[in-house]
């Protein structure tokens, strides 16, 4: 069949396809949606024919272009985001954490190990704090948690509207740290390891110092609540980063690129979970931890309950499979 005959045979069909394509690309409903896959496959056949018969470059290129656009519409990733998020929170995320327990354990060991280690060190050798943190920042910290001052957190006097400021600040600051900890895992895991150790060191040193100078009550009652979510989020983000790094160190029988891609698909979910934790942490930090009207004892109790919640959630949620998943 000559090219001009072929073109005139199928011209109408191609034009209909182009119209349907345009409407799909603009996200409008089109009457031809149910016929689209069939029309697309016919177009593929025409392209193959045109190539096999040596038709002109213009025809082949324009068919190729239509096929490419059709491919992108037909194989679009349609996700039911709402349902996915709910099943992620209820089951998939804790399952993933348990599945990746090696990385989670390694990251927790690095982070909490350095936190506790430096906390104890600074408590025993108080002058060590000045080697770790600049003196100015230490003074600032002391000002914030001074029990005499009767306020808590980062700002001097907090009205209700300031809770907003702090909420925004915590979200930005903490999530930034978590993202950094994750992303730098791409450097063979070294970056994640560094950030885990470093953040553990800073938090531990501050905790040790404040306890040692007698501000322990204000400090611990402030941090215990949101710490449950915040600290575990950092550890989880670090675990995701270590997973990336491990894929590069030990790709197994895959190529580097492929191993990395597979590991990244899982670790991005871990990061999403960590992000969720941080959002909760920022909320607690801004609206609950900073309340001065609550007695420290209540705060310890609530804090302990929150830690328990996190542990139970990560360990047990999603163990039973429900039918409609």
């Amino acid at each position: 069949m000559k090219q001009s005959l072929f073109e005139s045979h199928h011209k109408a069909e191609w034009e209909r396809f182009a119209v349907a394509l345009e409407r799909l690309e603009q996200g409008k409903e089109t009457a031809q949606v149910s016929d689209f896959p069939k029309a697309y496959r016919r177009l593929c056949q025409h392209l193959a024919l045109a190539q096999a018969r040596g038709y002109s470059s213009f025809l082949i290129d324009s068919l190729q272009q239509q096929v490419l656009r059709g491919h992108q519409q037909l194989y679009r990733h349609r996700s039911r985001l709402g349902a996915q998020i709910i099943s992620f929170i209820l089951a998939d995320f804790p399952r993933l954490v348990r599945e990746q327990w090696r990385f989670v354990a390694a990251a927790s060991l690095l982070f909490f190990g350095s936190l506790i280690g430096f906390g104890v060190l600074v408590y025993l050798f108080p002058e060590l704090i000045y080697n770790l943190i600049p003196a100015e920042q230490v003074r600032e910290m002391q000002g914030m948690y001074d029990p005499v001052a009767g306020h808590l957190g980062r700002s001097a006097e907090r009205a209700a509207s300031e809770d907003w400021v702090m909420f925004g600040y915590y979200v930005m600051h903490n999530t930034g740290i978590a993202f950094q900890t994750f992303a730098s895992g791409l450097l063979m895991g070294v970056g994640s390891g560094f950030f885990l150790l470093y953040n553990g060191m800073i938090i531990g040193a501050v905790a040790g110092h404040l306890s040692e100078i007698g501000f322990g009550q204000t400090f611990w009652s402030f941090v215990i609540g949101h710490g449950a979510f915040e600290l575990s989020a950092i550890a989880l983000a670090g675990a995701a980063g270590l997973k990336l790094g491990w894929a590069l160190i030990a790709p197994g029988r895959l190529t580097w690129g492929e191993a990395l891609r597979l590991a990244a698909r899982k670790s991005v979910l871990l990061v999403c979970g960590a992000m969720l934790f941080l959002l909760i942490a920022a909320f607690i930090e801004a609206y609950w931890s900073s309340k001065t009207s609550v007695t420290p004892l209540t705060k310890y109790a609530v804090g302990a309950a929150l830690w328990l919640t996190v542990a139970v959630y990560l360990l047990f949620a999603g163990r039973i499979r429900h039918a409609p998943e």
């Binding site: 000559k2 001009s4 002109s56 194989y75 990733h77 509207s161 992303a183």
Partner: protein, 238 residues
């Protein structure tokens, strides 16, 4: 690093990246190089700066509440601007749209949430140690110009397809080729006729003269003869 989706048959002259679809069709994608991507990023950076500047001025009037909203916005725009545009607008952030680029998965399908989030979170590493050094390095050495985030997320930045306009074939009497032509020869002859308008007359004559002998046509009239053969291939021959 080899791409599993694109088995390399033979090293191509251009940078096209072939993707095989489930229908058995090879789709050529044209990956975008470092410079054009850098320009697109610079435009996006400018737009983000502008949005933040305007919003901060507006929020400054709201006082403390404004400050809280401001830092939430800073967070949202610095981490989510690219992701939202890429997922909701078929792989195009404003800068990419401007330069005719889009982000797709390795298999040519539009980018989804997890891949977009991943490639934009890992931007942090591409930025190291300063000014996109690692990203540029990776982009320059990779056959399809991927930065590290793209490698991990399995994404590609490609040129969007532009509408083609039908070329005018020069007039000539349709005729049959004196020698049987193979498929690629047919396409070459058709290509010669279709692209003639883009070439200078001297070059057209030069190319046609090369074909005169193998096609057994007279050298002085080679151009019109070849155009005739092209017409003959397209439509009915007498």
């Amino acid at each position: 690093m080899l791409e599993p989706t694109a088995p390399r048959r033979k090293a191509p002259l251009d940078t096209r990246h072939q993707v095989e679809t489930p229908e058995g069709i090879d789709l050529p994608l044209r990956p975008a190089g470092l410079m054009v991507r850098a320009v697109a990023f610079a435009i996006d950076l400018g737009i983000r700066g502008l949005i933040l500047g305007v919003l901060f001025i507006a929020l400054a009037f709201l006082g403390k509440l404004g400050m809280g909203l401001g830092s939430l916005l800073l967070f949202a725009i610095s981490w989510w601007y690219m992701v939202l545009f890429e997922v909701l607008r078929q792989g195009r952030s404003p800068g990419k749209q401007w330069l005719g680029l889009r982000v797709v998965h390795d298999d040519g399908t539009p980018i989804g949430w997890s891949a977009s989030l991943l490639r934009n979170l890992l931007r942090f590493v591409d930025l190291l140690p300063f000014g996109y050094f690692l990203g540029a390095l990776s982009c320059l050495q990779h056959p399809t110009f991927k930065r590290l985030g793209d490698i991990a997320a399995g994404t590609l930045v490609v040129y969007s397809e532009r509408p083609l306009s039908r070329p005018q074939l020069p007039d000539a009497e349709p005729r049959r080729s004196p020698v049987p032509l193979t498929l690629s020869e047919q396409r070459a002859v058709l290509g010669f006729a279709e692209r003639q308008a883009e070439l200078s007359p001297a070059r057209v004559n030069e190319l046609a003269a090369l074909l005169a002998q193998p096609l057994h046509i007279s050298a002085p009239k080679a151009v019109s003869e070849i155009n005739g053969i092209a017409h003959g291939l397209l439509g009915p021959t007498p």
